[in-house]
Symmetry: C2
Subunit: 131 residues, 2 copies
């Protein structure tokens, strides 16, 4: 038999101690969706402010529907501010708020981790798959 290791007596909701579990879940769900990080990172690269069509070009493959709805969510969450200019054709600019910019740091941490370690993940996957 393998050595039985110390079984810490644990609260049925151990994780929930470290912080509001719903906050973490919701945050991860948000930035874990298909387009949010790309939009946020693109906005950053574009200097923290860009118009709809610029983002459309910056995020290859995104549809107008998804860009629009993701931006609305970001706006609702206080991550970006939407500014409409009464012109024709219309012009709308999106600007990252301090809150949104603050999220960029920890997000960048994940991006960096992926850059450094993803190859290893892929290797683990193919090893696992071939038996």
């Amino acid at each position: 038999m393998g050595k039985p290791h110390k079984t810490k007596q644990l609260d049925p909701a151990a994780v929930c101690r470290s912080s509001d579990p719903m906050a973490v879940r919701e945050l991860l769900t948000k930035i874990g969706d298909k387009w949010t990080i790309f939009i946020v990172l693109s906005l950053d690269i574009l200097g923290g402010r860009a118009r709809f069509s610029e983002l459309e070009r910056a995020v290859p493959g995104i549809s107008q529907r998804m860009l629009s709805s993701t931006l609305r969510t970001l706006e609702r969450d206080g991550m970006v501010i939407r500014e409409v200019f009464p012109e024709v054709p219309p012009r709308v600019e999106y600007e990252m708020t301090p809150l949104g910019k603050g999220l960029l740091r920890p997000t960048q941490g994940l991006v960096d981790w992926a850059k450094e370690n993803w190859e290893q993940v892929r290797k683990a996957q193919s090893q696992y798959d071939e038996r």
Copy 2:
């Protein structure tokens, strides 16, 4: 009219420069699913090693099906190692790999951000909703 800001001439795939965009997307999709972070954080709290039933208790609300499949994915990705002890009733222990532990740092960054800023996000949401 609002001041027209400098429109940076940009590559159609600006974000894609910073790193492998698929790696980032896949990573975010993984840790953005419903249970992965909780399992990873629980495993960490439990000392980096725990058996199935311990995790089941540590992550309130998770079903056996989801715990099992999420752990399999984690194992496939090289984040945890699964060790089976030939006993009856069965005992299976899951241990975080160095790769999995490495992911904990940037993940914790997000958890901390959520802890500090989620209240503000909620406030932004209710402001947005009431008009």
